[in-house]
């Protein structure tokens, strides 16, 4: 339960960061449009900034979307199975999710190192790529935490949410 509480708290924090990233995208884009159309001065590098902000928003919201059961999944088969079998299935899926997001986190970190070493920067915004690869690594680790907590629930014999 402690792991689940920690994972949920971490997911809430990263999602809140994501919420502000979404608001940033909206405001920046509106300023860019008004700047370009009215003052003939668009915001320099706005498309790249918007892209990076979206990465933070979506990766940041991934774990909480899992907690909230917002990802598309086929419910109608497993829910007809006996409780014991459901728990086994839940544990198996949690292991797969943990492996997937653990791998994504690790590989994003390595990708960040490659980007940092190459000194690659966004051509207009002039900001480096690598911090966003590292951000993807950290945020994917939070989603991996969700699956670790879910595995704990399955092992403890608790039912899946929602």
């Amino acid at each position: 339960m402690a792991l689940r509480r920690f994972a949920r708290r971490a997911a809430h924090i990263t999602e809140t960061v994501g919420v502000y990233a979404v608001l940033f995208i909206m405001v920046l884009t509106v300023i860019d449009v008004i700047g370009a159309k009215v003052f003939v001065r668009p915001v320099r590098g706005s498309t790249e900034l918007v892209g990076f902000a979206q990465l933070v928003a979506i990766a940041g919201g991934m774990a909480m979307a899992c907690f909230a059961g917002r990802h598309v999944a086929l419910e109608f088969v497993v829910e007809r199975l006996p409780q014991g079998v459901q728990r086994v299935v839940q544990g198996f899926v949690a292991v797969l999710g943990l492996l997937l997001f653990g791998l994504l986190s690790w590989q994003s970190y390595l990708y960040g190192k490659v980007l940092a070493a190459s000194g690659q920067i966004a051509s207009t915004a002039r900001i480096p790529f690598y911090p966003f690869a590292y951000a993807l690594a950290v945020l994917s680790a939070v989603t991996a935490l969700f699956f670790a907590a879910d595995l704990g629930r399955a092992l403890a014999g608790e039912r899946q949410e929602p």
């Binding site: 999602e15 809140t16 994501g18 919420v19 979404v22 608001l23 995208i25 909206m26 405001v27 884009t29 509106v30 860019d32 449009v33 159309k37 498309t47 790249e48 918007v50 892209g51 990076f52 979206q54 990465l55 928003a57 979506i58 990766a59 919201g61 991934m62 909480m64 979307a65 899992c66 909230a68 917002r70 990802h71 598309v72 999944a73 086929l74 419910e75 109608f76 088969v77 497993v78 299935v89 839940q90 198996f92 899926v93 797969l96 999710g97 492996l99 997937l100 791998l103 994504l104 690790w106 590989q107 994003s108 390595l110 990708y111 966003f132 690869a133 993807l136 994917s140």
Partner: protein
Amino acid sequence: MTPVEVGLMGIAALLILFLLRMPVAFSLALIGFLGFAHLTSFQAAASLLARDFFSQLSSYGLTAITMFVLMGSYGLMAGMGERLYTAAHRFVGSMPGGLSVATVLACAGFASISGSTTATAATMGKIALPEMRRYGYNLTLASGSVAAAGTLGILIPPSTVFLVYAFLTQQPIGALFTAGIVPGLLLTAMFAATVYLLSRWRPELAPPADPAPWGERLRAAAAAWQVIALFLLVVGGLFFGWYSPTQAGAIGAFGALLVGLFNRRITWPMLIEGTRDALRTSVMILALIAGASVFGRFMAVTRIPFLIAGWVEGLPLPPSGILLVMVLILFVGGFFMDAMALVTLLVPVLFPVVERLGFDPIWFGVLIVLTAEMGVITPPVGVNVYVIKNIAPDIALGDVFRGVMPFLVPLFLTVFLLMVFPQLALWLPSLGR
């Protein structure tokens, strides 16, 4: 094992994971990774996984999805759904089945600011169902009409399914959005006609509401001006090429936010919660796209999509027959899968066939959306039906499913008309070229 055999095993494993309730997006990414690793190397596949997620999630083109979802969320908070329903209620409420007809019209109106079937059905369900109960409407008809009319959310622009289709097939989003307008209005009219005919046939299903005086009708219509203004600003701007899809979505979201502030409906905590809700929907859609991208790389190595395209092309059927088979596949797939998942999964496989047969990709996009609409109201995975059941727990799930069945007729009819008269979809975009 040959790459094709590995690919087929991958597809089988994917279906098993779906049945085990693993989220579709993560199943796609995992099997895509494992299959690619088997055919190339672990290192290549692992690196591809990170790079694909990085490039898809930071794609500027995909921010349009997030912005249009945000626009729908703010539009909902701004009270636009209520204003639309009140206006439609005042005008048509007193005719046979009037409140259900009003629901259909209000759903069409709300679809012009929301790109989601579930958001449209949920918004209108909360407003319209209590009103229909008050007038003694048959709950099967009442719930069925909301669930079915909610599907207009992805046909009348903006539409999240059009946005994903545009991204997957590199089609212009402005043309796709405008292509959905005429079929959307046609389907709205046919949904309304279905309610009207059912109510004429069995008047006890839908007793007429009290007629509203003309002054009240005009006041209610005037109150709905905000929706029209926002729609014209966003879709008009896209149609005339004033701004990119992301910019259109951001302007729409900002406009809806301003309307909400003007209507004194949005506070700071509500703004954060509305944005949070929009983010969760966007996460669901973008995770599907990122997962489908990884899976697509695996499929490309196996060459299965190209082989399928070649096989389908070689079938002893005319192009229209092949098209019918594809529509059937989408229709049957819709029984088991959410519209967005179905589109991300099947469009990359079917689109090469469409291109080879020379069908218009914009027109095919509208066909895809129409078949996806059927999927959201047919059992067992009729997501709109579950939305309505959630709003009105006392209505049996079977009753809601029975209630939507008559509305499949106009959906099939629209698909048929669109196949016979492609201009229904292509005329409006042709004006903008």
